[in-house]
Amino acid sequence: MLKINRYFKEIYSSTAFPGIIIFLMLIAINAVIQPGFFTYYSFKLNLLSFTPLILVSIAQALVMLVGALDLSIGASISLLTVFMASVMGDSPLSIALALILALGAALAMSLFNGFFISYLKLPPFLVTYASSAIWFGIALYIMPTPGGYIPKPFYKFYRSDFLGIIPIPVLILIGVGVIYFILSRLKVYKHMYAVGGKEEAAWASGIKIHATRIKAFLWSGVFIALAAICLVSQTATGDARCGLSYTLDSVAAAVIGGVSFSGGKGSLAGAAVGGVILGLLINILYFANVTSFYQTFMKGIIVIGALVVGSVTRMKEQTIS
């Protein structure tokens, strides 16, 4: 009994606790409001739109763990879709080239942000806000209006099923799980928590602070690239504006999932759950016939709300200690 009590206490005191409760509530509301929520069809439909969101949430969580923030995530995803839609043709070679280009560009953008933030100690908010303008500018220069070409086999693939039953996004998420499993067992993952949690302590333990921050940004770049590939498969077009909403979404999802703004606290899994929660929320707004302007408005409220919940739990913790 005692053990179970302790287990519950662990859940209750974890930063993800508010998230879990909200998650269960949202499933219930969705089940009521969305026709056929539990059918295979709508499960797959939700999955298609949730996957990029989950990926960006993880990408955001990674940089938040080391005490930074990436406000350029949305713009970099847009730019990546533009790149891919420009490069892709019908040949498998061009598709492969586009994917490699997407990954390379994502890593380069993350490296850019990471360099200024870790080596030059510039504030992450400003650096990534400014770099988002750069990415957006480049994307608009290449593709002022949505367009480009995404071959049918490519975007069909994202919507198809493996062995006729398992949707491809499920495979992608399993792949993400594997990446997470590997990452969480690497030294650098522990070092990221240390750098974000208490930089001075990490330094005194012989950890290379700058390198660790840069690595966090690079890992984040991997997830950004994956998100962009999923998104471009979903929309089948290159669009300089298509990713913009992901900036706020990713921050919201990470915060809902219990990732702390001050760094070193929370988990990637939490952020992923946060992404699903946010997806369910957006679903509710959609099926309740709320206009898209109002959706944006609501998202803003949600982020503030999630921050308030986070700070309340933090204050609770402080009074205990």
């Binding site: 590997i182 067992r185 690497l186 030294k187 522990k190 070092h191 928590y193 240390a194 949690g197 208490k198 001075e200 302590a201 990490a202 330094w203 005194a204 333990s205 012989g206 950890i207 070193g264 606290k265 200690s321």
Partner: protein
């Protein structure tokens, strides 16, 4: 035999401030060498240089007889040197085992961290120091002394050839210090060389085979074990002789009455004990709060200072009940807190001494529109004189002062407002002997002028030297009061340790 470590004329500047001018020392195999000196004499900088954390500007370092290229920023691990940090090197959000292995996790063939191995390593290291601590506990949930023990365990787990302990006992209890010394002696027998940095001279004389004394960034002397005596050490540290440092209490003249009660706590609950705290503080009296670490002494001061709200009970000042919900309330009553963590709670580090001294007055002074700068400046100068600040410059940036002088600024800011009650929360932690004496003098002067003082200290000698009487706390209760002839170190230690027995009876 070649010494394990030999440092010659190590120099280091931070910005324009010279931290080390000319520091040399040698360390033999299986020897405990004490490093003593006032605050800001460069001990910590020296320790960090020989453990490879910072690069010196000049000097030579030989390890096992071979020269180390300091300019490259050498890897101390490779030479098996471990430093126990003064400012904790633990990450609060991480578990004990993660912290102990931090930065040198063992990885398997695939590059994965071997968790089992790491946990075992942590167990092993912690076994003797703190056997009851679970390695899965997060560091943020530990008490300061437990954190310090984990910090020591972290260094021990490296099985170093040279172990450097930078003020390891500052937050440890009597018992824990004893256990640490047993471990040091065992390591010594196994051939580990140890550098022990401390301000507590009795400890240094007990454990060390040899002392190296630092003053103003230079190593000024070496004292062999047979010749270690406190007087000589104090002379080398301060460069002054013939002054009695530390014994300042003018014994109360007989017939002197301290009649009026200034502060009274009636059944004030500290939260974790059913019984409340009852205490009375008379005018001009210095009352010590003693006992083991963390028995609620700090909480009493925080409640009085307005940083914690009491759950039940009554606080009276000069007979009138007062409600203290905010530091503002305490300040209005003339009750001022000198916090334990001066850097976080007592000072604006990036600002000048002047600003730090006068800011409490901003909210108190009745002014029309402008602050009377001239008046404030002369007041600041007066306080600087009073506390004997070194250097006596009101335009110094506080973060550039040594720890002891910073503490003088903290107490100085209240002096201007003529305190009625002063709450001292372990104020001399990490402060050197000379500055301590200085600080005691300030407190005694205040008491003479009629201020009352509540003095919490982890240093028993300090309580004996300063207090009229000492209250011993145990688990949030006052278990004993020691005063008069009984007030001596041995009696205080005994009462602290036996707190539990008395509380149960």
């Amino acid at each position: 035999m070649t010494p394990v470590l030999e440092a010659k004329q190590v120099r280091k500047k931070f910005g324009g401030v010279v931290a080390l001018a000319d520091a040399s020392m040698t360390l033999e195999k299986g020897e405990v060498c004490g490093l003593v000196g006032a605050n800001g004499s460069g001990k910590t900088t020296f320790a960090r240089i020989i453990s490879g954390l910072i690069k010196p500007d000049g000097g030579e370092l030989y390890i096992n007889g071979s020269k180390v290229d300091l300019q490259l920023g050498f890897e101390a691990e490779q030479f098996s040197i471990a430093l126990v940090h003064q400012n904790l090197s633990l990450v609060p959000e991480m578990t004990i085992w993660e912290n102990i292995n931090l930065g040198r996790e063992d990885t398997g063939r695939l590059g994965f961290v071997q968790i089992d191995k790491a946990v075992n390593k942590a167990h092993e290291a912690l076994k003797e120091l703190a056997p009851h601590l679970s390695v899965y506990e997060r560091v943020k949930n530990l008490s300061p002394s437990q954190k310090q023990l984990v910090e020591v365990a972290k260094a021990l787990s490296k099985h170093p050839q040279i172990l450097i302990l930078d003020e390891p006992t500052a937050s440890l209890s009597f018992d824990q210090v004893k256990r640490l010394f047993e471990i040091i002696n065992k390591l010594k027998k196994q051939g580990t060389s140890i550098i022990f940095i401390s301000h507590r001279l009795p400890e240094v004389t007990e454990i060390c085979d040899r002392l190296v004394v630092f003053r103003d960034g230079c190593s000024v002397g070496v004292i062999e074990r047979e010749k270690i005596n406190q007087e000589e050490v104090v002379f080398l540290i301060t460069g002054k002789r013939g002054e009695e440092i530390g014994k300042v209490k003018a014994k109360p003249e007989s017939g002197e009455t301290k009649a009026d009660t200034v502060l009274e706590m009636e059944d004030v609950s500290l939260g974790d004990s059913k019984e409340g705290i009852n205490l009375q503080l008379k005018r001009g009296e210095i009352v010590g709060l003693g006992g083991l670490q963390g028995q609620g002494q700090g909480k009493i001061l925080l409640i009085l200072g307005g940083l914690l709200s009491p759950t039940t009970g009554n606080i009276k000042i000069e007979g009138k009940s007062v409600v203290i919900r905010h530091p503002r309330d305490a300040i209005r009553e003339g009750m001022f807190l000198v916090p334990g963590d001066r850097e976080r709670e007592g000072l604006f580090l990036p600002h000048t001494v002047f600003f730090n001294l006068i800011y409490p007055q901003f909210s108190q002074r009745e002014t029309k529109f402008f602050l009377p700068w001239k008046e404030l400046e002369s007041e600041a100068n007066r306080i600087i004189d009073m506390v004997a600040l070194v250097p006596p410059d009101k335009n110094m940036i506080v973060s550039n002062l040594s720890g002891g002088n910073q503490q003088k600024v903290v107490i100085g800011k209240w002096l201007a407002m003529s305190p009625r009650i002063l709450l001292l929360n372990d104020p001399t932690k990490g402060v050197d002997v000379e500055t301590r004496a200085n600080f005691y003098q300030i407190v005694q002067d205040l008491a003479q002028k009629g201020a009352s003082v509540l003095f919490y200290s982890t240093d028993t000698d300090e309580l004996v030297a300063n207090c009229d009487r000492v209250l011993i706390l145990f688990e949030g209760k006052i278990t004993q009061e020691i005063c008069g002839e009984e007030l001596c170190k041995e009696r205080l230690l005994e009462a602290s340790l036996r707190g539990g027995d008395i509380a149960e009876n």
